[in-house]
């Protein structure tokens, strides 16, 4: 869209033959034919739009209906949306999702920052450390779920085994409503630390070395250099990472499904888990779609507001 590269001519494929252009420069300005352009983009475009924009519109239509997939759908207008407000189970799911987000996002940001700072140096074995920390990134939710239920098993899991050896009291972990979400957060961090770390590593390399050096010569210690010189450069990336992780966190489903299935006592039932249950266990497609749209709307508004505020703050900072 913002491409400044102009298209070279299409060599005689389709379209009327035009007289040979006088120079290569004006040749470059000639536009390719519509048929050729669409031939390149259409196959992928049909699949991508057909499986996103079209279903997204359909989901909105469904959200205005009462439908179980078999009966004749009945139009109910905004009833499904009105129902969202007084739905106690959904309210619980929102609370659990918020709890997970509040636990996960700040700890993922801090962990990624810490690991990136630790790994961003030429010391021996740094490649090995990086590999060890990044490998869990390839573990699937299914695999992570089985590992979680095993490591945190109250009877013979590694965690309680360690506590026993250390003489500490045994914990219920996933079977304890107070702890289950914390366990899920810990294992999410295990699988996703690589992502935030990589983003911060990339950002750290953008911090100009001469500025850091100047601060060092001026007598700043490592702690001061990090917080006064390096950290201000990392703020925009941090905003991005936090927004990105929040959008992921409010969509938590996989790891809940493969560990607790929403239990114990619904303590880990998240919004998307509730949505999945409503739609695919209770076959309430209309209400499920309304839940999905509600979540989409809230996250979209939040993202836009935060992004705009951030831009404004950045502009203010620059004009100072």
């Amino acid at each position: 869209m913002t491409s400044t590269l102009t298209s070279p001519p299409a060599a005689g494929r389709g379209g009327p033959e035009s007289p040979p252009p006088p120079s290569a420069r004006s040749r470059r300005r000639r536009t390719g034919t519509a048929l050729e352009g669409w031939g390149f983009v259409a196959p992928a475009l049909v699949i991508v739009l057909g499986l996103s924009i079209f279903p997204a519109i359909w989901a909105f239509v469904l959200s205005l209906q009462e439908w179980n997939g078999f009966s004749t759908p009945t139009f109910v207008g905004g009833d499904n949306y009105a129902e969202l407000v007084g739905d106690g189970a959904l309210g619980g799911a929102v609370l659990h999702t918020v709890l997970y987000t509040v636990l996960f996002v700040p700890s993922a940001v801090l962990l990624g920052l810490f690991l990136a700072v630790a790994l961003n140096r030429r010391i021996r074995f740094v490649g090995l450390y990086r590999t060890a920390i990044f490998v869990p990134f390839v573990a699937s939710a299914a695999a992570t779920g089985i590992l979680t239920t095993y490591l945190f098993n109250p009877q013979f899991g590694l965690m309680n085994n360690l506590l026993r050896v250390l003489g500490l009291p045994q914990q219920g972990w996933l079977e304890d409503p107070q702890q289950a979400m914390v366990v899920i957060t810990v294992m999410s961090l295990w699988g996703q630390a690589a992502f935030t770390t990589v983003i911060y590593l990339a950002a750290l390399q953008d911090v100009p070395g001469d500025v850091v050096e100047a601060a060092r010569i001026d007598g700043a210690d490592a702690w001061q250099i990090f917080w006064r010189v390096v950290w201000p450069q990392l703020v925009p990336v941090t905003t991005f990472v936090a927004i990105y992780l929040t959008l992921q966190a409010v969509q938590l489903f996989d790891l809940v499904y493969t560990t607790t299935r929403g239990g114990p006592l619904n303590a880990t039932e998240t919004i998307v888990y509730y949505l999945w249950q409503t739609a695919f266990r209770e076959l309430d497609f209309g209400y499920g779609s309304a839940v999905a749209y509600g979540l989409f709307f809230v996250t979209l508004v939040a993202t836009v507001v935060i992004t705009v505020q951030q831009r404004r703050a950045a502009a203010k900072e620059e004009s100072r």
Partner: protein
Amino acid sequence: MSLDVPVLPDRPLDRAAAVAEPPPRPARRGRHGLPFSGWHLLLVPVAVLFLVPFVEMFLTSLTPEGEINAFPRPFFPHALTLDGYQRLFEQSDILHWLLNSAIVSVVGVGSHLVLCSLAGYGFARLRFPGRDLGFLAVLATIMIPTQLLMIPTYVLFARVGLIDSLGAAIVPWLASAFGIFLMRQFFLSLPAELEEAGLIDGCTRVQVFFRIVLPLARPALATLAIFTLLGSWNDLVWPLIAINDDQAFTLQLGLTNFQGTRRTDWALLMAGNVVATLPLIAFFLVAQKQFIATMTFSGLKG
């Protein structure tokens, strides 16, 4: 689904190379009287912590059945055995699921590489009516979260008879907005002169694409392949919704189902986990730089 547009690095692949090899820093050894950098004292335990779940996975898959439920449980098994793997292959269709997952991933990666690079090239280099609108639509779809699409896609697939077949798992991985976007950005970064030379020499646009452009696009194609492989191999939500027939189970779905029915046979479950995870771990170890490039370009999971 990713929302990574605002801070995308211009050249993610160069960036990844830089991440993989941090800049030289003056080594200031012995400041704390240690013969090595103090960071080792921090990084060793952290690295061990990250490896523990995998170590437990491998060890448990090789532990005799009686030892796992023993109390108190020993930290290391007294003997190693392949019994868990034997039970896995006898009691489950794991090979069938493995084959299904391999088909989904191979078709997905292949289709992604062809379709997304074609579309990315079209959006980057060709001029045609509706191009900008088309690309804007692609960008807009990046904003749409998966859970909004689950219900209508399920209904759609049910209408065309895809539900409960492997096709249901394959179709969503044929192309993606992310793939188109990634390839377009890459092609925009290539100089157009080579292609122009090809065109002047009488190549058709299609020939130029396959003979000149694609060979240059190898780094971007590697990123795209890893993105698609990780996503399609590890996908759970969509197969869970679309496939109930265990003949069409993917490995992740079969494993999750198995977890519910064989709750206590941990050696068997961990053996299944090893089968599902080891291919990606091995691949990660040999292609770490490309994986990092993929991560730099987007967040994948979720």
